[in-house]
Every structure is written in C-alpha cells, then in structure tokens.
Subunit: 430 residues, 2 copies
C-alpha cells in the first residue's frame, strides 16, 4: 500500500523533512523520563507512540491474536507478523494522521500522550538482531577494491558476476546510530616486517551501505524463491560498516574479514518500510551474463535512494559532504540476495539483518569508503578546512543520510552517525 503524494497530515511536516505521512518509518524510542522503550513511527519532528494507540484500542492488527506488539523494546514481534498486518496498520496510521481525521487531531489529551517530540526521545537499536549477513553487491566497489588489492587489468573475481557474494557478519556489535566507538586495536603487519605488532588500527574506515530486516523467515531446508523474497522484507536502514583496513589486510586470507569489522557496525534508528519505498522502485542495472535460473525474477527491482556521507573533523567548524551515491546502481537486488542466501536451505529468521556491502557509484564523488576515495590511502582526501584524510582520525564524526525524492516531499532514512574515539589503553595481558 503506497500513500498518495497529495495526502497531508495535521502534523506540520517541512518539505525537506525525511518523515512525511508518506513515510511512517518504525523505530524503538524511550521518551525522556519514561523507563520502558516502545515502538513508534516518525512523523515530521514528532514520534507517534504506537504503544499508546494500541492501549487505547485504536489499532486493529490482523494475525496479532490479541498480543501486545508495540509496548516492547524491539520491532521483532511486529516484524514477524508479515505483510498483511504491516499493510493494514499502515492504512490505519495513515488515516489517524490525516489532516481531515479528527480522532487524534482533536483529542488534545490523546495527542499530548501519543505524539512526542523526537528531540526529547532517545532512539534505541530497533531490532533484536538474529544473524547479520553482509553482501558485496556493488560492482563498482568490488571492481575498485579488486583493482587495488588484486589486479587492475582483471579486478573482478571470476565468481562475482554469478554469485551474490556475501559473508557472515557479527550481530552482537551492531549498534544504533549515535554510538561512538573507540578505535580498535589489532594485529598489524607492516610491509617487509618479520612479525606483526598489536596496536591501534591506523586505517579505520567507514563503509556506506543499506541494510534490511527480515520479517517472517523460512524453515531450514526450504529455500525462498526469488519472486517471493520481497514478502520476507520488513524495511530498510542505513548501515555504516566500520572497517579497520590494516587489521583486515593481515587477517582476511583465507576465511574473510573478522576483527576488521566486528568492533562495531552502526545502523540508522528508523526502519523505512517497503510500502513507503514502493513509489521509488526502479529497474536495476543490466545483468550480463544473465543470472542462473534461481536468481531470475520478472521484476528485477531496485530503489532510487540518494545516499550521502559527511565527515566532521574535531577541528572543522562544519560537516563536509565527501560522498554522494545511489542505491539504484546495486548489481544484485534484495530479492536475488535472499534467494541466494536460502538456496542451500539456510533459514532466515525474524530480525536478521542483511546489508548491501559498500555502495559505490561510477564517479569519483560516488565512492562509498575512504579506501576507494583515497585509493588505499595513497591520495589523501583534501578537506575544506585545509586538512587531509587518508583514513579516519580520532574525533572524526561520520554521518550518512539517504532519501527518496518525490514531487514535493521526501521519503527519508534520517541519518546514522558515529564518532571514532581514541583507542583504549592496551592492558598488559597477564
């Protein structure tokens, strides 16, 4: 169910707000002073508290069997219900927020309780994350990295155009945007050295990604067909997959990245639903060679999501945009990723986070990590305040944002932000 672009809410929403009535993303928040986190949707500068609406009997949720869904610290129970419930509640929320609907608009006491200023709320990790899988689905990113680390003449691995390459990530260290992270320590092996050292990473990077949450899963041994995959997707978030390139370089052969990534992964607090993104569905890039049958779908879809990264150093007065990319260029679609992931019978579960991998475009300004922006640290990025960056320095804040632009409104993701703090002192081991 998409929401007509003509619709307006009685809640004031600026034209460049990410959260008009056409969006209604889900998050978990704690109102200042209140103890228990609960589920809400963002509308303009406010949050609509769904636990209040649920308690007041204003929501009728198919398949809920009378269970409380929104007076909870995560979206998991809600996500597990599936699309029928999601669409029904979206319709009710759209109606309740409509400028012509008096139920909420004209009940001052209810409004005061159910609509709280975002600025007064703490946003929490919205989902109890089950497994985290990170794909590697941007052809431009895989090509750039392959050219640097392998061969400029033959940068793409032979499997890349056939296999939606992915690896298992670390679920425990996924944090909500706003969480600062200490610079990780790890084994670093200098070129030509006889032995590695254990020291703070000197090559901390960000990666611009988009992730999505699985609602209903599948049973072990029962793959999800590519044309049914979208039924399992609840919604999308921005992901910053922080990476320590020097740790990665030394550890990743032959089993892939491990400690280079597991010190923290940041996600944006608002989950934008597939229903809200529907008007921005576009065709993905052409695929040649044609994918194997299990990856072919008649609607090979992507979404037109503009993405930006900005960097604020501890000395600069303002954040500076250092990357502008777009989700639509991603080679492997969400449906293909899901069909591939489950093609061996692997079960997805409610709360699984699947992410795109770094989303780079074909222009120099559209590169989604410092590794690419600085060509492995060889060409420093020059910032407006005169400083330079090869990789992130202590105190640097990275903020990612993204939105879909319609005529007169935006369906946006808000932002995911995080700062790199100095490394903690290395304690003697014994």
């Amino acid at each position: 169910m998409t929401t007509p672009s003509s619709l307006r809410s009685f809640v004031e929403v600026a034209a460049d707000s990410h959260f008009p009535i056409q969006n209604l993303p889900y998050g978990v928040f704690r109102p200042r002073g209140a103890e228990a986190p609960r589920v809400g949707v963002a509308i303009g500068e406010l949050i609509l508290d769904l636990a209040v609406l649920e308690r007041e009997g204003l929501l009728h949720v198919p398949r809920s069997h009378g269970e409380t869904l929104f007076d909870r610290p995560s979206l998991n129970a809600w996500m597990a219900l599936g699309r029928e419930a999601w669409v029904a509640v979206r319709r009710q929320l759209t109606h309740l927020l409509d400028r012509d609907e008096p139920t909420l608009r004209d009940d001052a006491a209810l409004r005061r309780e159910a609509l709280v200023p975002r600025a007064e709320c703490e946003m929490l990790l919205p989902v109890e994350i089950a497994d985290f899988t990170d794909f590697y689905s941007s052809r431009e990113h895989a090509t750039n990295v392959g050219a640097m680390l392998r061969s400029p003449e033959n940068p793409l691995m032979p499997n890349w155009l056939w296999v939606p390459i992915a690896y298992h990530g670390r679920a425990s260290s996924v944090v909500v945007g706003g969480t600062d992270l200490p610079r990780p320590c790890g084994q670093l092996m200098a070129d030509g050295a006889a032995a590695p050292t254990f020291a703070p990473s000197r090559a901390v990077d960000f990666e611009l990604e988009v992730g999505y949450f699985i609602g209903p899963g599948n049973r072990l041994g029962e793959p999800i067909a590519v044309d049914r995959a979208a039924e399992h997707v609840f919604g999308l978030v921005l992901v910053n997959d922080w990476s320590a390139r020097d740790i990665q370089k030394w550890e990743y052969v032959p089993l892939g990245p491990f400690l280079a990534k597991s010190f923290g992964t940041s996600i944006s607090p608002w989950v934008v639903t597939l229903e809200a993104l529907e008007p921005f569905r576009v065709s993905g890039p052409p695929q040649d060679p044609p994918p194997l049958a299990y990856l072919q779908s008649p609607g090979y879809d992507s979404y037109d999501i503009h993405l930006e990264v900005s960097l604020q150093t501890s000395t600069a007065g303002a954040a500076e945009r250092i990357c502008a990319s777009n989700f639509r260029g991603l080679y492997w679609s969400l449906a293909q990723q899901i069909a591939h992931h489950t093609s061996n019978g692997c079960n997805l579960r409610t709360g699984d986070l699947l992410a795109s991998g770094t989303i780079s475009g074909s222009t120099p300004a559209a590169l989604g990590c410092l590794l690419e922006l600085t060509r492995g640290g060889k060409q420093p990025l020059k910032l407006a305040d005169g400083s330079e960056r090869r990789f992130l320095e202590d105190g640097d804040r990275v903020t990612m944002t993204g939105w879909c632009q319609a005529d007169g409104y935006r369906v946006g993701f808000g932002e995911v932000t995080g700062r790199i703090l100095p490394a903690r002192p290395i304690r003697p081991a014994v």
Copy 2:
C-alpha cells in the same frame, strides 16, 4: 570444583558410561508426553530434572535473585550467572546424587518425578545461540588444507602462526544432534567450464570440531584478557560443521565460506562444564613463534579429549570408525581464541557458540574431515563393506563422539549424529 574420582552415585552408572557423577553435563530435554522443555543433567542412563529440584526448593542458586532458571527451554539464563553459581549448584547436585545421601535416594515419589530415563526423552538444542564463530585452530588441518589448495611446499598462510584465524558462522542453522539434513544445492563450477550450474552438491563433508558456549559476556569496547577468558566459558560440546566442498571452492574468495557451511551445523545435546573437564587439563602444544603479548597466558591449557568419527552407510550393517583424533593437539587454546576475538573490542554475549575448527592429528587415521581423509576426493576411503567414499552419499549417517578417560570412569560428551538426506527438488524460480 572437580569431583573426586572415588565418588559414586546411587544411580547405577556403567564404567564406560559418558555420564558418571563426575560429569553432570547440562542439556534441555522434553520428557515424553510433557509439553514444556526444561533443563536437566545426565547421570548414567537417566536425566535429573532440575526444574523439579528447583520447584521443590532443593537448589540454592547464588545470584539468581529468586528467578526460575531451569523451567526454561534453554540454558541461557543459567549460563549468564557465571562460575560462582555454576560451582555452587554443581556441589549441590553432586551431594544430592551421592550414594550416601538419602534426600533424593530414599524419596521414591521424588525420584520418580526428578529422574527420567534418557531413552524416553527428546533432546533439544540446549542454547539459544547468539553469534556463532568458527576458528581454524588445528595446525595439522590448516597445513593439510593449505597443501591441497595452495602449495605443498608452503602450506601454512603467513598469518596462521600469529593470528587465531576465525570467521563468523551462521547461528540460525545450528541444530541439535539427531537432525537429518537434506543435501544442499548451490552453484558448482566445474574445472574449465564457462559457467557454473545450480545443482545438488557432490562433495558434502563433515568436520570434526569441539565448540564451547559463552556464559557471561563482555561489553562492547572492553576486551577480555587472556588470563580471564576461562571465566566466560560455560562448557563444551561436539560440533559437526557440515561442509559442501564444491560450493565452498567457487564462492569463498575473497570473503570466506558462506553457503558451503550455512545449510546446517550439528552440536551434541549435552554441554560438558569446565569443572568436569578440569582433571583432564593438559598443556597445549609448543608455540613457536611465541604469540604476541595479548595472547600469552601462564597457564596455556588444553584438554585431553579423545574424539572419534564413525560413518554408517545405508547399505552397511554397522557404523565404522573412520577417524580418531584428540582435542589436546589444538594449537590455539580457548583462552587465546577468546582474547583474540575480543581484542578489537568485539562483545561476546551469553549463548555465543565458539568452535575450534576441524581437529586433525598428525597421523592418517586422525584426519577430521573427508577432504583430508581422501586428499580432496582423490584417494577414496575404503570401507569394511567393500564400498568407497570420496564424499558423503545420500543416507550416510555421521556420528561423532568424545570422552576423557580417567582411572575407572569417563567424562564424556555423548554423541552428535546426523544423516544426509537426498536433495530437495529444485523448484523453478518463477
């Protein structure tokens, strides 16, 4: 707290039983007919139902704050309490089961309720698994695989003797022993072919591993020092890390194994505690070069655990032992694995499963997977019934077992078993 070898229970326990009073491993079981799974410990051919003892007020658990711990479908709440509670309850259980202690022995009604035959119970996955990490800590295994896939002259990667190599595994598809698994399908790339095909794997393998569960975790950003690591380990299980070698070969560069492993990982249902294993602590193998400081501990420990794999084909009359190995040869210790895993600040959580990787020894009979036993399928394994195996065929059952041998009793793991079923038909994608 270890239990004296002279101790005996009033429950009859055969000399070769894995579950004497010196063991007392934890599991989650469902008595036949009863609906709710609960926690028990194995003793001989029986299970002691801890939910019953808890209800009857026979257990006094430090730090429990009156919370129910054993009338639950997983060990997680129990594991979260930490060693002080584990040791205290072990002491109480040892006392209650002592042949000279009348409380349980002489109360026929209580015995009938609290001691149930294992043969009448269904064993369930004992832990709600958070993240699953698989190490690669057997030098013999890494050397054999490196010699086959890379170079016989220089088989170990340069990082291997410095870094306890690991990768993130898939938590959702970890199943309890006894679960049969269909042969996975996946992309297979034949040598010299122009394109891969999607078909059932022709190279399904087992991997003999030992895993362990994390009790109390650590906070993000706060590494666990190597000499404190054991405090975080609740207990150990056997792990069969099923692998599809042909899928693995095509997919694993550059991000590591993914679908080759995620179709299923089997663990044994009984978790053997560190307390029970304490009498079998031995020194690990010498480490040269000496590990970096964060991996050095004064007690560099391993355990003397005899391990076996047997194979039962659908045509053979009996299972046949095809591998005998030992845990003690593992190069990287559990403490080193934990210190490394958290050295970048990564947080472990209650319920995390960490596994050793394939445990191979230095003799031909001690190789822990078919890939090594058959040299990549080149030298088929000849079975007693005259048949041969390169990799597993449909209907093959693999059973792993393991135990520590003391004078007059064994502390054992029971077994983990599973059968490979025919692949499910590949459905048309659209």
